[in-house]
C-alpha cells in the first residue's frame, strides 16, 4: 500500500488513482473534459487572464510565469500559429512528465485544447523524448480517442474552432528539451537551439508564432480553469503558487513521483513521502532540481522549502523538481564525473564555450585516470566552469557549469581527494 499522501486530491495527479483513466470514457466519467467544454464557452482572453492570475510558473525548469509568456503571444486569432508541448523530459533525475502522461494522457490533451482555444493555435505538437516509446503510443491512442469524440480536429464541439494535435518523437537528445532546439528538431533540422531574439512566441516553428509549454504546465490548466486561480493559489507561496510534481530518486526508501504544494519542506518530502533514507543511512547531500542544479549539503537540504525562492536562496534552483537524494555511502567525485560525462555527451556543439568547455571539464576532472591529476585541477575546473556561464545561446553550458561550481563550493576537499587518487583506474 502506498503512502496516502500520494493520493491527496491535488491538481495534477487527482485522476491517477482511478484504474484505466488513460481511457477516454473512464476519464470522462471521472469528470474529465468537462472543463474543456465549459472553457470553449468562455472568452479566450478570460482564460488567459485566469491563468495569469493563478501565477502558474512554467514547470520545465526555468519557472517563467506561463500567463506572462502567453501574454507575449500574438492576439490575432486568424494568424497561423502553433502550440508545442515540451515532453522531451531529459534532465537526469526527472521523470514526472512521463509518469503524468503514461497514467493520464487525457489531462494533457484537455489542457492543450483549452490552451489552444485561449491562444487560437490551429495546430499542436507534443514533442516527446525518443526513449519514451511506450508513452508516445499511449498519447497517440488517447489523441485518436479524442478525435473520435470530436474534441480534436475540425470545428470542435461546433464552435468553429479547429485544433489538430500530433505526437512527434525525438531521437534522444537532451538539447531538444530546450524550446528552440526542439523547434529545430521538429523542423527536421539538427537539434540545435536558435539565437534569441527572436523568441518562439514571435517567430518559432517554421518561422511562425509558437507557444512552447511543458507537459506539467499544460496539464495544470484544466484544474485552474475548473476551480479558479484563487483556489490554485491556496497552495504554495505568493511567488510559487500551486502544486508541483517532484521526481525523487536516489537513496530513499520509496523513490517516485509525488505531487505536493510548492514550499513543502524537503525534509517532509524525504521523511514522509519517500519513507526516509535508504537503510537508515545519513543524508549527505541533495541535488534539488535535476542534474544541472547545484548540490545542497545535508544541513541546507533539511532546511530548504521546495519553492522557487527558497531553493534559490540556498544557492541552487528548483528546476524541473528532480530531487536526487545522496547518502553518505556515495562519493561526490563519482557523481560529478557522471554529470560531466553527461553534459559532454549532450552538448550540441554549436557555441564554442559549451562545445569545448564541456569536454574539457570532463578531461580535467578525469586526469586521475592518466595519472596527471593534481589538487589544483579543482581550481582550474572552477575557473573554466565559471567562464562558460552566460556565454552561450542556450543554458546547456550553464547547466554543466553550475553543478560543477556548486559541487566544488560544497565538497571541495572531497573532490581534491578524489582527483589526487592517482594511478590508472
Amino acid at each position: 500500500m502506498k503512502d496516502s499522501a500520494n493520493y491527496k486530491d491535488y491538481a495534477l495527479l487527482s485522476y491517477h488513482h482511478i484504474p484505466g483513466v488513460h481511457n477516454l470514457d473512464v476519464f470522462e466519467r471521472a469528470g474529465g473534459y468537462e472543463t474543456m467544454k465549459a472553457c470553449l464557452e468562455k472568452d479566450p482572453e478570460a482564460i488567459k487572464e485566469e491563468v495569469k492570475l493563478s501565477g502558474l510558473r512554467g514547470r520545465g525548469g526555468a519557472g517563467f510565469a506561463t500567463g506572462v509568456k502567453w501574454g507575449f503571444f500574438t492576439k490575432d486569432r486568424n494568424a497561423k500559429k502553433y502550440l508545442l508541448c515540451n515532453a522531451d523530459e531529459s534532465e537526469p533525475g526527472t521523470f514526472k512528465d512521463r509518469y503524468l502522461v503514461e497514467k493520464n494522457p487525457h489531462i494533457l490533451i484537455e489542457g492543450m485544447i483549452i490552451s489552444a482555444w485561449a491562444l487560437a493555435t490551429q495546430k499542436g505538437y507534443i514533442y516527446i523524448r525518443g526513449e519514451f516509446q511506450q508513452q508516445a503510443v499511449i498519447l497517440e491512442r488517447a489523441i485518436k480517442e479524442a478525435y473520435a469524440k470530436g474534441y480534436l480536429g475540425k470545428n470542435i464541439l461546433g464552435k468553429g474552432f479547429d485544433f489538430d494535435l500530433y505526437v512527434h518523437r525525438g531521437a534522444g537528445a537532451y538539447i531538444c528539451g530546450e524550446e528552440t532546439g526542439m523547434i529545430s528538431s521538429l523542423e527536421g533540422k539538427k537539434g540545435q537551439p536558435k539565437l534569441k531574439p527572436p523568441f518562439p512566441a514571435i517567430k518559432g516553428y517554421r518561422g511562425l508564432p509558437t507557444m512552447v509549454n511543458n507537459v506539467e504546465s499544460l496539464a495544470a490548466i484544466p484544474w485552474i480553469m475548473r476551480f479558479g486561480a484563487l483556489a490554485y493559489k491556496q497552495w504554495g507561496t505568493d511567488k510559487s503558487p500551486g502544486t508541483k510534481l517532484f521526481s525523487i530518486s536516489g537513496d530513499v526508501n520509496r523513490p517516485g513521483v509525488i505531487e505536493v504544494p510548492l514550499s513543502t519542506s524537503l525534509k517532509e518530502i524525504i521523511e514522509v513521502h519517500c519513507g526516509g533514507m535508504r537503510d537508515g543511512n545519513n543524508l549527505k547531500a541533495v541535488i534539488p532540481g535535476g542534474s544541472s542544479a547545484p548540490v545542497l549539503n545535508a544541513e541546507d537540504s533539511y532546511n530548504v522549502r521546495m519553492d522557487y525562492e527558497d531553493v534559490a536562496a540556498k544557492g541552487s534552483m528548483l528546476g524541473s523538481g528532480a530531487i536526487i537524494v545522496i547518502d553518505d555511502t556515495r562519493n561526490m567525485g563519482d557523481i560529478l564525473k557522471w554529470t560531466l560525462e553527461f553534459y559532454h555527451h549532450e552538448s550540441c556543439g554549436q557555441c564554442t564555450p559549451c562545445r569545448e568547455g564541456t569536454g574539457w571539464l570532463e578531461s580535467v576532472f578525469k586526469r586521475r585516470e592518466s595519472g596527471k591529476a593534481h589538487k589544483s585541477d579543482i581550481d582550474l575546473l572552477d575557473k573554466t566552469a565559471a567562464s562558460m556561464r552566460g556565454q552561450t545561446i542556450c543554458a546547456l553550458a550553464d547547466a554543466a557549469a553550475m553543478p560543477t561550481q556548486g559541487m566544488i563550493k560544497v565538497f571541495r576537499e572531497e573532490l581534491e581527494a578524489y582527483v589526487s587518487l592517482s594511478g590508472k583506474k
Binding site: 538539447i175 564554442t352 562545445r355 569536454g359 578531461s363
Partner: protein
C-alpha cells in the same frame, strides 16, 4: 534611404543605419571586434561567442552580431568582464585546436593566431588528449579540409546553403566531436570562397597551399578579366610570381564573392613559359629576334589588326589614335559565350571582359566591330598583308580561337601580340610579340553594367611598356 542613428561604442561616437547589424557598424567604423562566425555575406549564426558586448541598461552580455543598431545605444567591448569572456572563449577555441601553425597555410592571416597574440593566455593549461579528426581531406574543387583545425564557425556550411544552394557541407555529430562533413564533393563554381571565409586553416586551397607564406606576399587591387562581370579582386604576388586571386568586397558588382574561374586568371602572368621577348618562328621553334628584322618584313605590306576584347579603354583609344589616317584595317575578335548567360550569382556567359569598351572605341573611330567585319578581314587576306592578332588574355575555348588562327597563314606575315604563354597553335604565326598582361598596366575596362572597372599595375614579370598601341605605331614606319 534608411535613417542613420548615433550610438557609442567604447566611448567612440559612431553612426550606422537604423536596424543594421551592430557588429558590422563597429567594423565599418574601424573598431576592432574579434569574431569568427559572423560574415557580412551570410546569415548570423552567433556561435563563436567572440563578439560579446555589454550595453548600458542591459544586465546580460550578448553577441553584437545578433543585435541591431538603435539610437543612443551605449555599447562596450572593452570592459574587464568582456575582456575576460573573450579571453576564456579564445581558450576554448584552442583547447582542441592542433598546434599546426608552422605547417599551416593560414598562418599569418589566421583569426586564431591574430587574436591569440592579442588576447591569448600564453601559458597552456591543456595537458589532456586533444580530440582528433581527419586531417587531409580532398573535398573537390581544389579545396582541402582539415577537420581538426576547424573551429565549427559554420561559415562554410552557411555558404553552401545560402549562397550557392548546393549544400555539399554540413556539420555532423555533437559537442567537441562535431565536424564538417562532406555530403558530396564540392560541385559549385564558387568553392574557393570557402577557403577565403574559413577563419582558420581548416579549408585551404590546393592550388595555393605550400607555395608561399602569406607574409611574403603583397596584394594588388584590380579587376577580374575572366568575364564581363568585372569582379573586384586582389592578386597576391611577390618578385617570384603571382600566387592567388581573392575577391574584394564591392557592393555594386560582386559583393563578397567571386567564381572559381576567376581564381585562375593570374596563371599566365608569371608563368615560366610566358613569352618574354619578340620571337621569330623558325621551323616551329621560337627564337628571339631583333625588332628591326620584323620591321623589315613589314615593309610595303598592308597592315591589318584583329584586336581582342580584353584591352583597356585607354589602350583602344591610343591604338585608334595611332592608326588614324593610315589604311590599316581593324577587326575585333570576341570570345564565344560559355555556359548560361548568367548563373544567378556572379558568373556570366559572356567572357569578354571589355566588350563594351571595345565597341565604343570601334564606333568612335569609325571601324566595324562585327563578326562580319572580322570574317571579311580574314577571308580577304593576301600575300601583301601583314596581320597582327592580339591574343585574348584568357581563352576558355581554344578550339574556337584556333579556327581563327588557321586562317592567318594566308597573310604574308602573321604576328601574334600575346600577354601570356604561347599556345601550340601559334606556330601559324611568323612572329610572336609580348605585350603587358592585365597585371602590368593601369587602366579601365567597362563591365556588363557599363561601369568603369579599374585595372592596376602590380609587379612585372614580362613585357611592360610595349603595348598594342606601340605596334600600331608601325603603320607609319
Amino acid at each position: 534611404m534608411t535613417e542613420n542613428v548615433k550610438l557609442t561604442w567604447n566611448g567612440k561616437e559612431i553612426e550606422a543605419p537604423k536596424g543594421s547589424n551592430l557588429l558590422q557598424a563597429a567594423l565599418d567604423n574601424g573598431i576592432e571586434v574579434a569574431h569568427y562566425c559572423y560574415h557580412a555575406g551570410l546569415s548570423v549564426a552567433g556561435v563563436c561567442r567572440m563578439c560579446m558586448v555589454e550595453q548600458d541598461g542591459n544586465p546580460r552580455a550578448f553577441p553584437s552580431c545578433n543585435a541591431t543598431c538603435g539610437e543612443g545605444m551605449v555599447v562596450h567591448s572593452d570592459t574587464p568582464k568582456i575582456k575576460a569572456a573573450v579571453e576564456a572563449t579564445l581558450q576554448f577555441h584552442l583547447v582542441n585546436h592542433p598546434l599546426d601553425c608552422p605547417v599551416c597555410d593560414q598562418a599569418g592571416e589566421c583569426g586564431l593566431q591574430d587574436y591569440y597574440m592579442k588576447h591569448g593566455q600564453y601559458d597552456s593549461q591543456m595537458i589532456d588528449k586533444k580530440v582528433h579528426k581527419e586531417k587531409v581531406q580532398d573535398i573537390g574543387k581544389n579545396v582541402m579540409l582539415d577537420a581538426e583545425r576547424c573551429i565549427l564557425c559554420s561559415r562554410c556550411t552557411r555558404f553552401t546553403s545560402e549562397v550557392t544552394g548546393t549544400n555539399e557541407l554540413g556539420i555532423l555529430n555533437r559537442g567537441d566531436h562535431a565536424e564538417i562533413t562532406v555530403n558530396e564533393n564540392l560541385k559549385n563554381d564558387y568553392a574557393q570562397n570557402l577557403v577565403d571565409i574559413c577563419p582558420v586553416g581548416a579549408l585551404t586551397s590546393k592550388d595555393f597551399r605550400f607555395k608561399q607564406r602569406v607574409w611574403f606576399l603583397e596584394d594588388v587591387l584590380t579587376t577580374c578579366i575572366g568575364c564581363e562581370t568585372g569582379c573586384s579582386v586582389k592578386v597576391s604576388q611577390n618578385k617570384n610570381g603571382s600566387y592567388r586571386v581573392k575577391p574584394v568586397y564591392d557592393h555594386g558588382v560582386n559583393g563578397h564573392w567571386m567564381c572559381d574561374d576567376g581564381r585562375k586568371i593570374y596563371k599566365h602572368v608569371s608563368s615560366p613559359t610566358r613569352l618574354s621577348a619578340a620571337s621569330e618562328n623558325i621551323n616551329g621553334l621560337f627564337i628571339p629576334v631583333d625588332e628591326a628584322g620584323i620591321l623589315n618584313s613589314l615593309s610595303d605590306k598592308k597592315l591589318k589588326f584583329i584586336l581582342s576584347t580584353g584591352l583597356t579603354n585607354g589602350e583602344y583609344q591610343n591604338f585608334f589614335a595611332k592608326i588614324k589616317g593610315s589604311n590599316a584595317e581593324v577587326a575585333l575578335y570576341s570570345l564565344p559565350h560559355e555556359g548560361p548567360e548568367f548563373d544567378g550569382i556572379l558568373k556570366r556567359g559572356d567572357k569578354n571582359a571589355n566588350l563594351r569598351g571595345a565597341v565604343k572605341a570601334f564606333d568612335q573611330a569609325g571601324f566595324d566591330h562585327s563578326q562580319a567585319a572580322l570574317d571579311k578581314v580574314l577571308n580577304s587576306l593576301t600575300k601583301s598583308d601583314a596581320l597582327f592578332v592580339v591574343v585574348p588574355e584568357i581563352i576558355y575555348n581554344e578550339d574556337h580561337f584556333n579556327t581563327l588562327i588557321k586562317k592567318v597563314e594566308k597573310a604574308a606575315v602573321a604576328l601574334a601580340l600575346t600577354p601570356g604563354e604561347s599556345l601550340a597553335s601559334m606556330r601559324s604565326f611568323k612572329y610572336l610579340l609580348p605585350v603587358p598582361s592585365f597585371l602590368e598596366k593601369d587602366g579601365e575596362i567597362t563591365n556588363f553594367q557599363g561601369a568603369g572597372r579599374e585595372l592596376r599595375k602590380g609587379l612585372s614579370y614580362g613585357e611592360t611598356s610595349k603595348d598594342v598601341s606601340y605596334y600600331a605605331g608601325w603603320v607609319n614606319v
